[in-house]
């Protein structure tokens, strides 16, 4: 079991991730905008080449349990990872266990109490800090240090605790603006580029009898994820929760709800429900993630034409949280070498990341995949890669302990959309709550 260092239990990222991202982005003049995420994120160079876990080979036997939260069609991606792993290690029996996303941290912590748990976690939520403190993860540092491809991965996708590597994201996800091109063409509008353009665009769409926008208003961390770009566009940050800035953002979104641009029932929607509502075909825009690229092709097909655009800019430069699933070795695994091999062969490998890209639209973090045709030629990814360059924000927010503060944001975001609170009251409550709960 990894023992948390009692003296300094905080997420040690060595660099401020946002600064790192911005710095890398600013110096990326030679990079193409589309498909160059890894280069934007890259902070350090490194050698390339195929790596293997020296002790293991095709005759290695054992059982490996992987906990994931990919349900329904998403589970195919995880199954494909395992098939990829099994090609190289055919005698290792991989057991995939589905655990619902919000239940994953609770189940993991409870399992750690009984000194058990899976060999590998696929998890990208904001509760990794709590899970680490509860002793859920085993450090992957020794494996990482001898990993030949480690230079392919920017520092921004590596999670360290107490200067040791624990989790690695092979790809990143973030939110952007999806649009129904048929509606936009019929109404004669284009995706708004600034907040100032939004009102006129939405008014025309509403007048045409369509729903202007769908987004997540749930009082959960999905709501907070959705709210952050709009709030940060007026200067909000978790370190500086300015009530005036928050009120401006809440007024904007509250007005959408009042005017019928945003369905009030969005307070019940998570990101999946938001996608379901948009895919019906009568909603012009949706704020949602690049992970919907695969589901869109499957669900919408030729029902209507659609595309993606960056989120509109506000008075200040907004931030968009960088998500994506990381791989972690379980603290109580008896087969850590096999667990690491699974990580290497799936989300850290080119083949594994191609699976993610093709099936769900996850943007590969590997430098050597930045110029792949699959990345650069996909028009749906272009908006996202542009956002990574200009607006990426670290997640969990600003490398702090933010779960309670995020809950405050999500609840007030939800309350404003529902009309439960005025923007001014919700802004005050949010500023007070974030100040009281956010620990840098």
């Amino acid at each position: 079991m990894n023992e948390p260092d009692k003296g300094s239990l905080f997420l040690d990222r060595r660099f401020n991730r946002r600064q790192l991202l911005k710095g890398a982005a600013a110096g990326a003049g030679s990079l193409a905008v589309a498909g160059s995420l890894a280069e934007f994120l890259a902070a350090c160079g490194g050698n390339t080449g195929t790596t293997t876990t020296a002790k293991l080979d095709a005759n290695t036997t054992g059982d490996l349990e992987v906990w994931h939260y990919s349900s329904a069609e998403g589970v195919k991606t995880v199954q494909d990872y395992s098939a990829l792993f099994s090609k190289k290690y055919p005698k290792v029996n991989v057991k995939l266990t589905y655990v619902e996303f919000s239940e994953m941290p609770k189940r993991a912590i409870a399992a750690a109490a009984a000194k058990s748990g899976p060999d590998v976690f696929v998890y990208g939520g904001n509760e990794v800090n709590a899970m680490f403190k509860a002793g859920v993860f085993k450090s992957a540092d020794s494996y990482w240090q001898s990993f030949a491809d480690k230079g392919q991965f920017p520092d921004g996708v590596i999670t360290r605790f107490n200067s040791k590597v624990y989790g690695i994201k092979g790809y990143v996800n973030l939110t952007g603006l999806w649009y129904n091109k048929d509606i936009l063409d019929a109404v004669g509008v284009t995706p708004p580029k600034t907040h100032d353009e939004i009102e006129a665009t939405f008014a025309k769409i509403k007048a045409a009898g369509k729903v202007p926008i769908a987004l997540t208003g749930q009082p959960t961390n999905q709501g907070d994820w959705t709210a952050f770009p709009w709030m940060s566009a007026y200067g909000f940050s978790y370190k500086n929760p300015d009530a005036a800035a928050i009120e401006q953002a809440f007024t904007l979104v509250g007005n959408w709800s009042k005017k019928g641009y945003l369905p009030k029932e969005s307070v019940q929607w998570g990101q999946a429900e938001t996608f379901n509502r948009w895919s019906v075909g009568d909603v012009a825009f949706m704020e949602n993630g690049n992970w919907n690229i695969g589901p869109s092709a499957r669900t919408i097909g030729s029902k209507f034409k659609y595309g993606t655009a960056p989120l509109p800019s506000g008075p200040k430069s907004h931030g968009i949280f960088l998500g994506g699933e990381a791989l972690w070795i379980g603290a109580f695994t008896k087969v850590p070498d096999i667990g690491w091999a699974y990580m290497q062969e799936t989300l850290l490998s080119k083949d594994g990341l191609l699976i993610t890209l093709q099936e769900s639209g996850g943007i590969p973090a590997r430098k050597d995949m930045a110029n792949l045709t699959e990345v650069t030629s996909n028009p749906l990814l272009a908006a996202y890669t542009a956002e990574v360059k200009d607006h990426s924000a670290e997640y969990p927010p600003e490398a702090g302990q933010a779960i309670a503060a995020q809950a405050v944001v999500a609840q007030n975001w939800s309350a404003v959309i529902a009309g439960q609170k005025t923007p001014a009251q919700a802004a005050k409550d949010t500023a007070d709550g974030v100040k009281a709960n956010y620990k840098p």
């Binding site: 912590i109 009082p219 009030k264 307070v267 019940q268």
Partner: protein, 308 residues
Amino acid sequence: MTTAAGARATFPAVSRTRARLVPRGVGLYLLPAGLYLATLALYPFAELVHMSVSDVTAENIFGDWHFIGAAGIQGAVSTADFREAAVNSLIYVLLVVGVGLGGGLAAAMVLWRAGHFAGFTLSLMVFSWALPGLINGVDWRFLLDPRGMVDTILGVFHVAPIYWLVDGRLPLVSVALVNAWTVVPFATLVFRAALLDMPSEVLAAARVDGARPSQVLRHIVLPLLRPTILVLGVLSLLYAFKSFDFIYVMTFGGPGTASTTLPFLSYRLAFELYEYSKGAAVALITVGIVVFLAVLYLRQVHREERSA
């Protein structure tokens, strides 16, 4: 063949053995129930109390808990979230109990007489009662969506969509009414059993004396149902107070915190925010209220038994 004399001769010996064994035997019979209670009720409750007076986070939940005394409970109770959740709980409980019992009594009176209609309707009601709360909650969430069946039907009568799970106090009221809907079948069964037990000659005498149906209900039926109403009331109160599943699936305590009750607040603090001490403190207060109500219930049952 045993003679009467022989039987008399052995009786004192058996009696002595029983006198020795009975106290020990009672203890053994109680042991499984005692172990069950100690493991699944007393130990968790002791841990809950311990947690509520300690500083417990994800970092030390499996380690040493630092004692902080009543500060944890004070900290949890003094928040605006707690006050809002307490008020919400009160509204929720009143609605579930009021509508659940009122609906149950009304349904029982309609279904008083046995017959195919009563049998069929009761079967349907039992079915809805037996469904898990989570499934009922998800079904109703879809039904109450502005694009769901309820608003679609209302739309036929030109009623604008009602945001059942969104607007003002409506989310709390809507969830409480759905919860009450699951109380109605149980209440109906119990009330109907009590009605069928009612002496028919008393009712017949009232009718002969010219009492109107409303007078029969007020002066005869309700007084005779009083013990049933009390017992059902306390049981429904307990059920409503600890209700969690409907809120979890229908509104997740929202919008904002508009439908957050004490049990849900406890869950959110402990398992969403990992503030285990505060979550335990809220749970402890909730348990305290439930225990108080349970004592009331037991006293009532005891009183009924004595009067019977």
